[in-house]
Symmetry: C2
Subunit: 445 residues, 2 copies
Amino acid sequence: MPGPSLVRVSSTPVPQGRSTRLDSYVDRYAARTQGMTASEIRALFSVASRPEVVSLAGGMPNITGLPLDVVSQSLTELVAQRGTVAMQYASAQGDPVLREQITEVMRLEGINAHPDDVCVTVGSQQAVDLVTRIFCDPGDVVLCEAPSYVGALGVFRAYQCDVVHVAMDDDGLVPEALRQAIAAVQASGRRIKFLYTIPNFHNPAGVSLAAARRAEILDICAEADLLVLEDNPYGLLGFEGEPYRALRADESERVVYLGSFSKTFAPGFRVGWVLAPHAVREKLVLAQESATLCPPTFSQLAVSSYLADHDWKGQVKQFREMYRERRDAMLAALQDQMPPGTTWTRPAGGFYVWVTLPEGIDAKAMLPRAVTARVAYVPGTAFYADGFGSSCMRLSYCYPTPERITEGVRRLGGVIDAEMDLRRTFGGPLPRGERGYDGPQSDLT
Amino acid sequence: MPGPSLVRVSSTPVPQGRSTRLDSYVDRYAARTQGMTASEIRALFSVASRPEVVSLAGGMPNITGLPLDVVSQSLTELVAQRGTVAMQYASAQGDPVLREQITEVMRLEGINAHPDDVCVTVGSQQAVDLVTRIFCDPGDVVLCEAPSYVGALGVFRAYQCDVVHVAMDDDGLVPEALRQAIAAVQASGRRIKFLYTIPNFHNPAGVSLAAARRAEILDICAEADLLVLEDNPYGLLGFEGEPYRALRADESERVVYLGSFSKTFAPGFRVGWVLAPHAVREKLVLAQESATLCPPTFSQLAVSSYLADHDWKGQVKQFREMYRERRDAMLAALQDQMPPGTTWTRPAGGFYVWVTLPEGIDAKAMLPRAVTARVAYVPGTAFYADGFGSSCMRLSYCYPTPERITEGVRRLGGVIDAEMDLRRTFGGPLPRGERGYDGPQSDLT
């Protein structure tokens, strides 16, 4: 069982083996590399992956429900019938049949697209990377929701963009806040390259952009002549009714749309995509050639075969039901366990709940104590480029079972209670570690 | 059969469907994107892929000899035993077992490495991308052989590096030329970030760095305090004796080594790797997280299973014999068919022969005429960042059968003869297309 030494891991930054050796290459790195630093709480996350800890931190989908026999049969046929094609180089844009299938997936969200405008990527993470690569010079501004996806913030940092956050509420991005952010950036003389937004089942905020706001957001972007990068990995994982209509469904020239099979099938193949206006798609293909020559052929054909051979929509329906049950378990447990003054979002799909703690409680400073109590989460500051979010945390319900979620939230409630007691006893904010990049590098923990 | 219209495709750039539509996004792209332009001879290469054309242009390995039954069995077991692991996210650094196996592969070239210093990449193309990403600011100089690998030049261009070429001869990179290049760049006040070199069975030059030169090259780089990026995709595909000793075998802190399974197994999994000094490896993992979250788990475990379940070294031996036979066919045909004044390299491994044409013949201007005669190659200018190489071409013997190679070189000989006749009749250099980027984007055609 974790002992008190865990607390020390993060409250005082300690040497992490070889990683703190003097880096004799430090003068050689590119300017962009100076921003690539490992999270100071990374050591803590490796502890959090121990089985006795309930991790409400990670964003890994639960794929235990996948029909392995179908996948296996599908791969056997793929190798027998097209093995030397599947194992060979292919086009940088991606397999034509898969791109056709991708347009059918997007049709479920109202998108009418041509396969020629789809570019397959190594997960939609690479899609964020390639879009940023072709559009952003150092110092360019990217507008992001507040909070925003940690992996996208990492890309924007790697390309030396300035992230400006735009407020959300329970109905997603706030149009008036977007107008104000655009005006403020323009007044400062900087250039906005695009709005990065996750309209559906937001990671980490757990909210969705209200239908009534969608046209307004597009109008604001049109007026300011901004591109929109619509990131939609969870769109088909809604718990109520039909999938929401994509922004891209109503605006094809201004919206660059990102999709992924990581949550509707499996992440290990790393197959995502970009749907972009034709000229942009051409640049993306050139960027992909430079980045990888081509996305993995075998992965693409494996996904394509799975989509063709299996009732994948039925599988997604099962995923939805499984995640809904977990969402319900988490919301019920939060209702039972959270002290007064704590608030949280109520996601209608996806993987995440965003919790705001009672005033004065610092989620990052509390994390080592939570891990000692065998529960983990991601502190809110990870999802901001500007140090905000210290009183917030992201809780994931995607991976643990409902029973574990209930137990995890129970433990978390105890930790917050103890934190409030301490605060009442000693007053003022509790001590926390050094400021700096607060999050994991990605959602994988 | 291709008619005269083919000639027009490249001698006069013609509209290529939608690609020449006015790009309304052009003002929004990053500065780096301005250099990402499609090859003007790309249209020609799509013609060159017709079956009646013998393509000596592409760099695709011939994987028809792979044991598909072994691969299939291996994948069936993988899915049955570790399916949900293989289809899940994993570490950005790559699978630990695969990294251990990679160290065993590198041991064949004298490298003694720790798996912790290996970072798995999406093919070694992504390795070039990530290394350049962490080291190179715009304007930094990268030293490359003259000629150099087209895919690496594309990466350096995408990161806005200045490429300075260093002369080679039949024994590879010329030490004195390296000394001079370093001095010249330093005198100009610019900073060299690394020497990018392919010591073994060079693409495109078909030569290898002589054993006697290897220590000298390392000494020169040590003296100038330069890193070396050693790209070695063909190292195990030598036709004579044991694999050459890697530069990395004798220098672990200055050499960043790139390897790949694309030529020893299959490219469609896109599994390559970087072996780097520990501090650099840490930056590469952070860059990989930003680029893709993690390289494809399924691909990695597929390669790992193949290596474990199969006599992969025996398979590589078969590949070597197959490629040697094709090399022999190409050298014999060149001997028979090339007019006086033509010279070429004699590769001891790998995929490529570098041909220098008689004076005054421009390989790029001649390409449409060659395609009309149903043979294709890559003009030498593709392998230079500075417009040189116009009298040269790269011929690949990896993919066509020996009979097709013989026929292709026969056709090529006829085209060169005709070109020389024309030149004798009209004098002066023959007309060629617009200057600009001359090559394919990659080796896939």
